[in-house]
Point group: C4
Chain length 233, copies 4
């Protein structure tokens, strides 16, 4: 249907960024983009190689996870995306990858400590790692519960999704989001780089200290605070 | 002979995937593809650089390892491929590489533990590492015995080749297989990525726990089980 | 204004080297180039993706940090560059990146020890890591104070900016400089490689010794001493 | 002079392989190729970026290190190459790089242990690491003595240059050689890969055992022994 042409094209473009940024091997990732007015999002079809994707192959799904339009089966992670859109009204795009370093931290079941200003340029908290899911959640509506796990862990940690736009799901891998697809993909790549730097920092100096609070605030505020002076707006 | 044109072309194409996927340096790898009706497989010639390969240069060999057609000497690992085709009737392609991380695990003589869902998306077991071979096997028909080592270790571990499509041969390197060349090459790249992530996981968290059983089952089943919902079939 | 055309073009060209050399992700870096006669430098605008940059978008700033010419806001690190030009009369270009290994050392708050002749080919000292800045400096004129931190730490260590053309700012990342933009970018890439090699050296041999003094002197002198015989001059 | 056209072209081609194989950053490497009949070798000029090289810029030098023909100054490592050609009559090309992993082992002052068959496919010994040079050698004719250090350490270890075509010079970096330029460059890339795998092996399994003798012999013999069956000759 023509009313979905635009988000399909945008979802296609965003998905194609993942292999270019080195964030996915084969089909190990997916991006979705929401149209808040229409109450739907477009997402990558399940298990289709990136080189075979077209804008037309993107599947349109509503925020309860019901397929609205599309010839193919949507990503197996679709319900996770749906829950995030449903609960977090301010997000416009969701990215899931199995990028190497972020996934390795998720497998380690550890938050990624904030060790430097590169991290603080993007968020003031450690990157949260939600615990691996409980057996009843896994055996139940697994992907739906993955979304709940993300939302509940953010809440439990006292983190706002507008400020912390990335998380690890323990034993699984990273999710990122943002107002736009561009921002969500950007967050995904930033997360991978922060994961790599934190790994190296701990190897170079076991017991390296967390970044001091004054630097955390300064770097975050200069980019995101009321008197921010980074960027062109 | 014209009846081999198709598998030669397919074997050529599959071999050319290896350098593109970063799985081989120089000539350190080989792919073969079987034609079960003809009872033969086509394999890369020995020691020929990838840029000099042509479909025509692929060597056709039967399941006992006898060269049936071809101008060049087949890969020195040919007998290993032959044994796998001979014993495992369901496989259609075999890939051997010396990819960096998988080979390093093989040199460490350790199984690669299952640490996350990326692993469980592909197999429910640790990736097996067969012991380095015994001296009499090495001094005997070495490549033939390498095939036997693979088959015997899978058996000893209670693993089915249809479910675990990859193995490390201790002190040597990885082998992967599958019903099709595409799947076998895919498995080869997946193995390398799982090897890298497992390495990183252990460095980020020494003593990281194996993935819990419920997640192993869930991720494997959603992709490979009777009610699978990953992909388009 | 036409009198800035040349340094704008040079600054643009130098900035575009950073992604090619793998030293930046997205906008995480900036190069500036000075025109000593005009008493200004041209620097990358803040937060603009590399693919959107043009020579014309470079911002011209004086050595006190005042924007002289340009349509966009200059890099948020502009005052740091300004201080370096103001205090160190012999430098013609400054580069700041968040390159992976150098930043990880900065996050570790450690000097990078001189472990080999690759290092000695470029400098005779460990690569200094200035301490993370004091709270009053952070809450004050932060980027200006970052420049002072660099200059003061070099002085405190007894290092000359003409001989040691690179530094880490603790918890933040690397800065490099040189007489020309080409040299400053070169130093930036060399620093990243030295950071990587030093990391690996310590992992291969915990407690590896610093390079012996005679080799330090020899390698540095053959490239930079009065009787140097490296290169074509 | 026209009689050097061929080795100049060959030396140029071989030098240009180094950046393609990821073995050099900027000008950190050099290849030379000998013409045994003319008693000379062609080598890269000193400090010239790869993109500025031409066949014509290669410098022709005799086996005592005297420049015979060429407009530029030869590589600062020229005397090391000269000594190797002078003492080892069977070699036709020499490669020196500062490739990342091999150099890090050199900085660690450790031989690279033989951990797998990838190593044994190329040599049966640990890759030797000559000690850092003595002060009098460094202060004397340094590059000449570097050549002697290589030759003497090989002798002291009981290694033949025809069989072990690579070495690390402690605190400095790798050298490789071979009958042809193609082989010497190949050895250089193999050394870097073996260095990386050995690093990873020790991280995956501290105290990993050396490869067993029977596998060392088997893999080396099948490629290099009298009954070798690897490759097409």
């Amino acid at each position: 249907m023509e009313k979905y042409t635009e988000i399909r094209k945008a979802a296609y473009d965003a998905n194609m960024q993942l292999p270019k940024l080195g964030l996915v091997l084969f089909t190990f990732g997916n991006v979705s983009i929401a149209d808040r007015k229409l109450g739907v999002f477009a997402i990558k079809p399940s298990g289709v190689p990136y080189e075979a994707l077209t804008p037309d192959s993107m599947v349109v799904v509503d925020f309860k996870g019901k397929t609205i339009d599309g010839k193919m089966r949507p990503s197996s992670d679709t319900l996770t995306h749906a829950v995030l859109y449903d609960k977090w009204e301010g997000i416009g795009a969701v990215v899931h990858t199995h990028s190497t370093f972020a996934t390795s931290w998720a497998q380690s079941l550890r938050d990624i400590p904030i060790y430097g200003t590169t991290h603080a340029d993007h968020l003031t908290a450690d990157i949260p790692c939600a615990p691996a899911m409980e057996d009843n959640m896994i055996q139940g509506n697994y992907e739906f519960e993955t979304g709940n796990q993300i939302i509940n862990y953010m809440k439990w940690k006292g983190l706002k999704y507008e400020e912390v736009e990335m998380i690890l799901v323990g034993s699984h891998g990273p999710f990122a989001w943002g107002k736009t697809a561009e921002k969500a993909v950007y967050n995904s790549a930033v997360l991978e780089e922060l994961a790599k730097m934190a790994f190296l920092t701990e190897k170079i100096k076991p017991g390296a200290p967390r970044l001091k609070e004054s630097l955390i605030r300064k770097h975050y505020e200069r980019k995101h605070g009321p008197g921010s002076y980074y960027g062109q707006q």
